[in-house]
Subunit: 350 residues, 4 copies
């Protein structure tokens, strides 16, 4: 990444945290292949403790794999998955859910902040005639924190979980930024997952200080055997799994995962305070969606800020766990200057 | 891995080599996500130089993924893939080729040492009636070095490549132990790959000193765009790809890959010399298939040797790049003692 | 079907026309299996003459099969298919396109009368970022006449065909009611198909007087070999294909297909004239979408009319080729009476 | 089919029997679409009576569809199906099982007469290591009568059924020539199906006097809902299902199916008597595998006999339900003449 650059483009651009790298280095000794090594074997216990319930925890190599594997176990090839129209599984995984499920249909539902509401889901389901000609829903999938930086509360998650249960649907949680949601709400991770009815979830590691490992957490342990096979079959059973397990164990030890997420959230919050009038969505995690004119966007880029254009007049800024105060302060100040310019009429011709 | 243990169970049990770990550590700085980082962008050039031809090189997370992605680009869902009946793709990937190709048929062919011969392939093809009822072959897949530790020479590979070309079939090479084959033959890697007609190959890294990365090498660069999509769609586009690229670049720098493979091959050769009368297949790479009675196998295990039973009366020993002379010497000596015991009649009651 | 019943529920409820039944009866003699018989072998020529261009014509057993097979040849598993949000392929085929294409994504587009417009398609495409994370469109699929009884003109079809061509997309036509569209426009079938850029189409037979056969017409004959294999592989290669071919040949002989469609269209037109104030869409084929209150719908049903509720306050009536003037007249009169009642204030409390 | 031709090439070349054609003709009146019509609704009861147990009976359009649908309900995408290496599902369905199951692996087992034995299955299973790397069997599939004209007895079927049950495997029966097996054994159809542990079976109609319909019989009625969806999704839910149901009902009425099968079996038996020294397999149904030199085969073809070369020096003759005594007698006589010629030394130069 060129020097002078201040990256807010993605938390995938961040470094791995020192504890993770140290754990990987420490893992570099001979051990059994695949998931037979000591570290991989320790995963279930570590995550069971974290979630305060017995789980099976499987490392995989990407969030896409974690999500798609989960969906493939919750939805038959001929079923449907209710998800938000802005969901990562719908838009950003190159059709991976269709690949892993063998053609199940993603049924997109609208909702503010990329959040599903019970009403929204029920209305969508009501439009699906119950016959053999229509794809029938088999699962609900949510992302927390969402793709638009918003957070489902414990109550909102539990309400969707109850809806899923009552309709016989599986309940999947894309937790690429689960840490940011838990950090935001200050709740126990169980409250946003199995206590709220979640069956399977991906537990994000890479965006939050990891390197190459994500976790697929099975609250429904009856699905674990099938998922182990599907993991192998999709090429996600790493042959030196200890390097994957090490990252996950290091990240959840001593709540490192929450500290990393808090750092990112706080950075976002501080920027949000400086961009209050420009925010398209509430800033509840580590992402900001900021209204910018084309000229403003160009100006920020000229100053070295990296971010993504998010459709017409909107820009996405993502704060990473490893971004020190300087970059945050610089962006705050740059955004404030834009506002001054605006007030001073420099944008009147816009 | 318990102390006192001498592992010959798999090269997946080996450590990563220091250069690889150092490269991963060095890669831990912010950079673009996915394969937009500088290291990932350097892969094509590095492998093009290695192979002396322009290639596209894609990191993936497992050999299974590399092989299955390659097959999915060479064979339509309704086609067949000619492979050896002992091939990894046939037996050890949980049906991954069926998953990635959407149901293509592996057509198993016999052959000594897990090697396909042109005759064997042609005979098998002759039995396939050319009509719409039979699955028609679309590709040939070989493994070099093979699953039984044997090596295809340049001539053998080129003959199969010519057969593939003349029949309009794709040609895939499973190169999980490609380094061992090249090291054995002392030839240029091009001679065992594109010059011999190979279209796509997996280039093994993990067994040979890597951690979590394998490479899919596209000699047919026209397939690269499709493969990039398939990689993403199957969840193999790592979001911090620099950690994957770093491993591959470190391994091929200064011929580290060949030095590692040579070390493993030489260890195997030395053991072979001590087990000459017991070898089921020629030892041409880093694997030995040794005839052992149940009692002998138990005896070796009691001494701390780890290996895999390979069907009736046969055991597989794999030597890794990082196994020092002590373990090799110990196994040599243990095997020699078995022979002495045998000669002294201690096995007469068997 | 109970006596006294007047069916407007679906053209699938209609009988087969006498010529079709006679042809099936005449086909009942020994002949080669699958598509080796004389009738199946005559299909290409018959449809080539009909369309005035060399085509390959394959019988299949359902419209769903014809559509899905076509899409599987035009769109790779990792591609997308632009279609109307009310399209049969999107809503009424139980996810068959996902099954046959191995998980390709249907990308729904809005548009009045279930018709795609070039603008609508272009706007939708503009929202698809061109990268590896998004499913990229590979084909456009339209239905003519549409699911809402509207018709694409030659110009509209050609404009979409040109758009498809310019973007490198395949162009598929669901022609379950193609006959009704051609009959409506009075044009040559070529003008609504290959001359307008259509690559593959399903040619509806069953709704229009057939029994168990539909045709998949390949204007792109280079795809025919692949489609023959896909037909077999999906279980649609009937083993006594002569019974399938006979229906298709009988239907297109002497323009029977157009006469049947004209009869159905004219019935619909006559009903439309009696329901003018209640029509949700222009009546351009054999379907009417009529605004009815719940009480009105119940009243009509009480009189023996069968039809389908089409969401809130709307009812679908389909006229079949074999519905004589009596049923048509009865429905006209019943609809007129509803209007009288409405005018007389009997609905004021609604 | 050219005149003067005597077809023994396939029972797919036979005509439909008069009762079937009459039933189809009688079915040509308006009725509900898909399987809502009176005839389709009568199928379950009719087959439940035939099998003396409650079943769900679904018409489909081909035996390939019936078999593949059944396998897709008995075997997950990541499972294996044990079948004979000469099985139709393995060799003659263009990979349809792979398509419908989404990539499940057919695991071929040897056995005389294309019959699986319990020993053969158990030996094959013993070679499958029980880990995540190997595809694990989920189902057994047999064909009765087999592809080589042999018949599983009630005891043999029940033994395989018990083996399947004890190993937790589904049990599928390809009954394309089930009628011939029942006719041969003179047993009740239940004894060769559910009483022997069969879960799902295809019930052949087309080869035995039908036109375009086969039946998928669900003894495991808990799988019926899923299979109805899979039938639709694979394009096998005919929109005028009454024409399909009519054929099946007509065929099983008054044991017409058994009479047709008996006629075919008896023809085969009579020919077998004339070819005793040349038979490669016992003739237990309506197929004969006759050893013929190339010259003999040519001679028979010159006389108008049609049959299929079945590998080196073998020819397959199939007798259909509708083949009168003349063709049978002609073939008997022709075969006898070959024998005379052979005895007289005319073949000494062979």
């Amino acid at each position: 990444m060129p020097t002078g650059v201040m990256r807010f483009v993605s938390d995938n651009a961040a470094s791995a945290c020192p504890e993770v790298l140290a754990a990987v280095t420490a893992a570099n000794a001979p051990d059994r292949g695949y998931d037979g090594d000591a570290l991989s074997q320790a995963l279930d216990a570590a995550f069971s403790e974290l979630f305060e319930t017995p789980v099976v925890a499987l490392w995989v190599t990407t969030g896409t794999a974690a999500n798609s594997l989960a969906l493939s176990a919750l939805c038959p090839p001929y079923g449907g998955i209710l998800c938000h129209e802005d969901a990562h599984v719908e838009n950003d995984e190159a059709g991976a859910p269709g690949f892993f499920t063998h053609g199940a249909k993603l049924i997109a539902v609208a909702g503010s902040g990329a959040k599903l509401s019970c009403n929204g889901v029920e209305e969508r389901m009501a439009r699906i005639v119950k016959d053999v000609h229509r794809v029938q829903p088999a699962a609900i999938s949510i992302t927390n924190a969402t793709e638009l930086g918003c957070v489902y509360t414990q109550q909102e998650t539990a309400a969707l979980g109850e809806l899923a249960r009552s309709r016989g649907l599986g309940f999947h949680l894309d937790g690429a930024r689960f840490a940011n949601a838990v950090a935001r709400l200050g709740c126990h991770p169980a409250e946003l997952s199995w206590r709220a009815g979640v069956d399977l979830m991906s537990f994000g590691c890479i965006k939050n200080g990891g390197m190459t490992a994500e976790a697929l957490i099975c609250f429904r342990r009856d699905l674990a055997d099938e998922l182990r096979i599907r993991r192998k079959r999709s090429g996600h059973l790493s042959s030196k799994g200890r390097f994957q397990a090490a990252q996950l164990l290091a990240l959840i030890e001593d709540d490192r995962w929450l500290r990393n997420a808090r750092a990112a959230n706080e950075g976002a919050e501080r920027i949000a305070a400086a961009a209050a009038g420009r925010l398209a969505y509430p800033v509840e995690a580590n992402e900001l969606f900021v209204r910018l004119s084309a000229r403003e966007a160009a100006e920020l880029r000229a100053q070295g800020f990296q971010f993504i254009d998010w459709g017409e007049g909107l820009a996405r800024f993502v704060v990473s766990w490893d971004q020190g105060g300087d970059e945050i302060a610089a962006l705050r100040s740059a955004l404030a200057k834009l506002d001054d310019a605006q007030e001073n009429g420099s944008e009147v011709l816009r």
